[in-house]
Structure formats: structure tokens, C-alpha cells
């Protein structure tokens, strides 16, 4: 990794208290071949005050999982089973419509990826903030605007200009910061960032990640970053969960997972990262393509086709996510047999 110093995790090492507790979550999408799972039996704890990174290729179900945290899976998908307990909110899966809406934005902030336009193009940022305030029954809208301006200033934006602008007048980096204002202005304590830096130029990426790190620390947030970019996770996250075909295949403290991946997929991802120092030819892309909903094998380990250490049992049995010593979890029949990927 280019930046090895990840001092963040020192802030709250090994906290037992989880702000979000996902249990046996299954999300299915209706297709021509019936309902197929995009997220299958996921168990995941997001420790309070920590940054958790969820990494995976497109189609791995990570974005679906992120939406499921807000019970916002879009049709034709739906949450089939499981629960998502959010501290101070309850199980969002069973929450009533109104309470759910209050939780979204109010308790859980969500930041879209920068390439997406998360703002109504026809309204200024300020007016949309007022809409947000009204939707959440904020009594003092002026105070809300003041807070938003404060946040803007904190993130290096000209507050008056930012709030008076339309989306098309904002650059990608500015949009992302405005997105964070929306997520935090109501004092949400859980922050979900979906690909927060994709499509940003390098400077903006660094800026946005810096801001995320700062607000996280200052506001004592519980943060989830969904990304396909291991570099982002390495720089920011305390914990790391790797997703493949709707399953969490490995989870643990970031530096531990990166240093010694237990799942061959994790190892493959890491090996695929080109290094700045050293021979670029040493980076080995993963062979094969990730499965989508319809190509996930119904039986056995979904990774076996691309797995360098696949065994016979992988053909028939989907490995469960089991805890291994050191507070890590992995779902692989070959665990402990030394994944010689490096």
C-alpha cells in the first residue's frame, strides 16, 4: 500500500458495542427465473465509533447490503429475511413506514457516489436542505441552515455559495461534500458512504477521504464505506468485510486482513493491486469474471470457479462464515491451509 500508516483504528480498538447489528440478512431480486438472492444470510456487526469498509467487485451485493441497512432495497428486490438492528432505532426491517423515514437521514446518513447526482437538479442546495428539515419536522429551520453552513465551512466550502447553488454548478468534489452535509446535518450517528470517491480526481479523492475521516472522528460516528477500492479501505477503515456473490467471505481488522488474508479471494484482490513501488507487472489481476445474480451456482462455494485452491468439498458445500482466532471471520473450506497467493 502506498500509505501504510493507518492510525485510525487506534481510536477505539476492539469495541464490543455494535451500533448496527445485521443478522441473517437475505435480500432477493425478482428475475425471470424467480427470486434470486443478492445478499445471502449476512451477519455483520458495525462497531460503534469505527469505520467499517465493505469491499467487493460489482455484483457482489455490497451496494444492496448498504441499501438494506436503511431498508431501502429497490424493486424488484426485497428483504426476504433477517434483521438490521440500529442503535437508537431498532430493527429497520420491521420498522413502520413513518419511523423508517425518520430514521433515514435522521439517524442514518447515506452518501452517494460522486458520479451520481444525488441532488434535485431543479432546486438549490439550500432549498433542498429546507425540504429535508421539513420532512424531519425540524422546528428551527434557520438553525438547520446554520448547521449546514457550519458543516460546509468545515469542509472547505463557501457556505453561502454552496447553499445557493444548483447541482450543475458544483464540481464532483463539491457535490460529494454537499452530500455529506445532507447526511450529517440532522446529526445522524450512522454514516453509510457508497463509493464515496469513485469518479473523483485524485485531489478530490484525498480531500473527501480526509473530510470523512475528520467528521467521523469529531462526531463519533459509526461509518460504513462501500467500495471496490481496497486502497480507500486501507487508508480509512478500522475493520474490513469482503463480499463475494452476496456473502461476506472474510471480515476482520483492516490491517490484519490486508496483512494476512485468509480467503483466497481476499488474497486475489490484494494481489491485483498495482504497486507504486516495485514492478507493476507483479500485480496479477484476478482471473475470470465475478458472478451475477443468475450465474451464482446454486450449490457449493460460489468462488470455486476462480479459486486457486478449490477442493472437492467446494463443489457441494457452501462454506459458512466462521470465527477464527484473532477476532476474524472467514468463509472458506481451505482456511488455515495457507493461502499461498503472495
Amino acid at each position: 500500500m502506498a500509505t501504510a500508516e493507518t492510525g485510525v483504528q487506534a481510536a477505539s480498538p476492539g469495541t464490543g458495542e455494535a451500533a448496527v447489528r445485521v443478522r441473517d440478512l437475505t435480500v432477493v431480486y425478482a428475475t425471470a427465473r424467480g427470486e434470486l438472492p443478492a445478499v445471502a444470510h449476512v451477519d455483520l456487526d458495525l462497531p460503534a465509533g469505527q469505520i467499517t469498509g465493505i469491499v467487493g467487485e460489482s455484483g457482489s451485493g455490497k451496494s444492496t447490503l448498504a441499501l438494506a441497512l436503511l431498508n431501502a432495497v429497490q424493486r424488484p428486490g426485497r428483504i426476504l429475511s433477517g434483521s438490521v438492528q440500529v442503535a437508537g432505532v431498532g430493527d429497520v426491517v420491521t420498522l413502520g413506514r413513518r419511523a423508517l423515514r425518520q430514521a433515514r437521514g435522521g439517524k442514518i446518513g447515506y452518501v452517494f457516489q460522486a458520479s451520481q447526482s444525488s441532488l434535485n437538479p431543479l432546486k438549490t442546495v439550500g432549498k433542498q436542505l429546507l425540504d429535508l428539515g421539513r420532512s424531519h419536522d425540524v422546528a428551527d429551520l434557520r438553525q438547520l441552515i446554520r448547521e449546514a453552513k457550519g458543516l460546509a465551512e468545515e469542509m472547505g466550502l463557501d457556505p453561502v455559495r454552496a447553499l445557493g447553488s444548483y447541482q450543475h454548478q458544483l464540481s464532483g468534489g463539491m457535490r460529494q461534500r454537499v452530500g455529506i452535509i445532507f447526511a450529517l446535518v440532522l446529526n445522524a450517528h450512522v454514516l453509510v458512504l457508497d463509493e464515496p470517491t469513485t469518479a473523483l480526481d485524485m485531489l478530490s479523492q484525498a480531500l473527501v477521504l480526509g473530510i470523512v475521516r475528520r467528521v467521523h472522528r469529531e462526531r463519533g460516528l459509526t461509518t460504513v464505506i462501500i467500495t471496490h477500492d481496497i486502497g480507500v479501505v486501507a487508508e480509512l477503515a478500522d475493520r474490513l468485510a469482503v463480499m463475494y456473490a452476496g456473502r461476506i467471505v472474510e471480515e476482520g481488522r483492516t490491517e490484519e486482513v490486508l496483512a494476512s488474508p485468509l480467503h483466497p479471494y481476499t488474497a486475489g484482490l490484494i494481489a491485483a493491486i498495482p504497486r507504486i513501488v516495485g514492478d507493476p507487472n507483479r500485480s496479477r489481476p484476478l482471473s475470470g469474471r465475478p458472478p451475477d445474480l443468475t450465474t451464482v451456482p446454486p450449490r457449493g462455494c460460489p468462488f470455486r470457479e476462480r479459486c486457486p485452491v478449490a477442493m472437492d468439498v467446494c463443489e457441494v458445500e457452501d462454506p459458512a462464515l466462521v470465527e477464527v482466532p484473532g477476532g476474524r471471520r472467514v468463509a472458506c473450506h481451505a482456511r488455515g491451509r495457507g493461502v499461498a497467493v503472495r
Binding site: R101, G105, Y110, Q116, S135, H136
Partner: protein, 331 residues
Amino acid sequence: MSGLARRLASRIVVAVVMIWIVASFTFFLVRAIPGNPVQAEYETLVSQGVNPAQARAETQVIYGFLPHQPLATQYGHYLWQLLHLNLGKSISYTGTPVSHIVLSAAPYTVILVLSGIVASFAIGVIAGVLAAVRRSTRLGDVLSVSGSLLHGVPQFVMALLLAYLFTTEWAIFPFGAPYDASIPVGFSPAFIGSLVSHAILPVAAYALSSYGGWLLTMKSSVVSVLGDDFVLAAELRGIRPITRLRYIGRNAILPLFTILALSIGFMFGGSVFIEDIFDYPGLGQLLLQSINRRDYPLMSGAFLLITVAVIVANILADLLYGVIDPRVRKG
């Protein structure tokens, strides 16, 4: 707003050039028309029982309203008079100024076209939103099918059907006049009621024949906006459903404004059919009458006014678009 003003100014310049071209076109067209209107008027008078000598004398009075100068002089005079909103004098109305005739017919067409557009736009847009949001339900299907069916029916067919059903089969609505002449004109309930009841059928013909188009366009626009990220973003921010619907509606309606401009032209064009079929005394009927009577000054006046109405409506639609879409406003 200076962007808007600049936009308006450039549109007006373009509009003036267009009006000049259309005016010149009708000017030269009228002078290229074969056949002698005086002769036709004479024959008509004679077949109505006027004796030939008298008919000839009468047509001479009418003939007096036809110009005799060289073409270039006439053209210059015509343009100069046009600047003063003088469109010349009618033949079939013996010397009554054309501008007077067309301007008194214009309100009826404008009433019909505007009410038709407003009604079809409002109903079509609401139905389009419903059809999009409920697109997997029976209601959505019914709405979409109704849109496709009506969209395929030409204006004059719609007008014929309505005329057959509601003036003959079930003679529910009055027809043949813009209002009951025995009611004094004014802002009285009786007068307005009479005006409305006489306009219902033609307005319905306009509205029904364009409703399908609005519905289908709005539906596909809403569907595409529903897929936009900001809609999901608003949901994830816990924005109230009614506010979200406003967001969707306003964004989805935008592309319709570009079509609105074209549609206005189409509606004004359709006035020829609708006013003919319902005997409504607007510009369309005037245009047809002037052509049947070969009253060329009146014909060019009516055509010019229809064109100007469309151009003005286009500018208004364009400005409206500018007001609604901030991206255009600044750009």
C-alpha cells in the same frame, strides 16, 4: 435573470424574422393564385338571382378593393402597413379591415386552444404520473392503453365522433355559436356558463386528441426520472413522499415543455378541423371560409395571425422552460 432577458431578446429577433418570411410568403402566394375572384363573386351573385348588369356593378365595388400598383410597390406598402398592424381590407367583407376581422375571431381560437392544451396537459400529466408509478397494476395498464389508443386517433376523427355522439345522438351540448346571443355579454354566471357549455365539445376534442401524447410522454419521462439517483437519494434522506413526488413531477415534466411548443403549433393547425366540425367561429373557420370565398387578404391575414400566435406561444413555452429549468437559465 439577465440570461433570461437575453434569451427573450434573441427569440424575439428570430420571431420577427420568421413573421417577415411568412408575411412575404403569403403576400407573393396570394398574387400567384390563379382564377379571378371578381368573376367568382359575379357568378355567385348571378346565381343568387341578381341580374347580370347589377351583379357586374356590384363586383366592381368589390374589385375596387384589389390593388393595382406594381408588385414591388405593393410589397413595400404591404410591409409598411403590416408594421402598423394593418393587414389590408377584406374582399368578402367589403372593405372591412382584415385586422379587425381576424382579431375578433382570434379570441375564440385562443380560448379553445388554450383550454384544450391546459386540460389535456393537466389530465395527461397526472394520468402519466399515475401510469408510471402504478405501471405494474391494472390501473397503470388501463391508463397506458387509453393513452396509446387516443394518441392514434387524428384530431378530426375525434371531433367527428364527439360531434356525432353529443350533438346528434345525445344532443346534450349546444353547438354552432360561441355563446347564447340573448344573454348579455359580461362577467355574469349565465354568460360564462353559456360560453363554457358551448366550448366544451371542441375543447374536449382538442384535449382528447392530445391527451394520449401527454400521457405517454409523461409516463416515459417519469419512469426515466424514477431511475434517477436523486430520487433514491431523496428517499434515503427520508424526504416526505409528497415532496419526493414534487421532485419527480417537476423533473419529469421538463422534457414536456419542449414538446409543448410543437404541440401548440399542432393545436392551432387543428383549429381548422375542430372549428369546422363544431362550427366554432375562430381563426381556423375564418381561414377556411376565406379560402372558399377566395378572399385573399383575409386568408393571408388569418394565416399570418395563426402563425404569429404559434410563434408567440413558442416563445412563452420557451421562457417557461427557462424559468423552470435553472440549467437553461444560466446557460
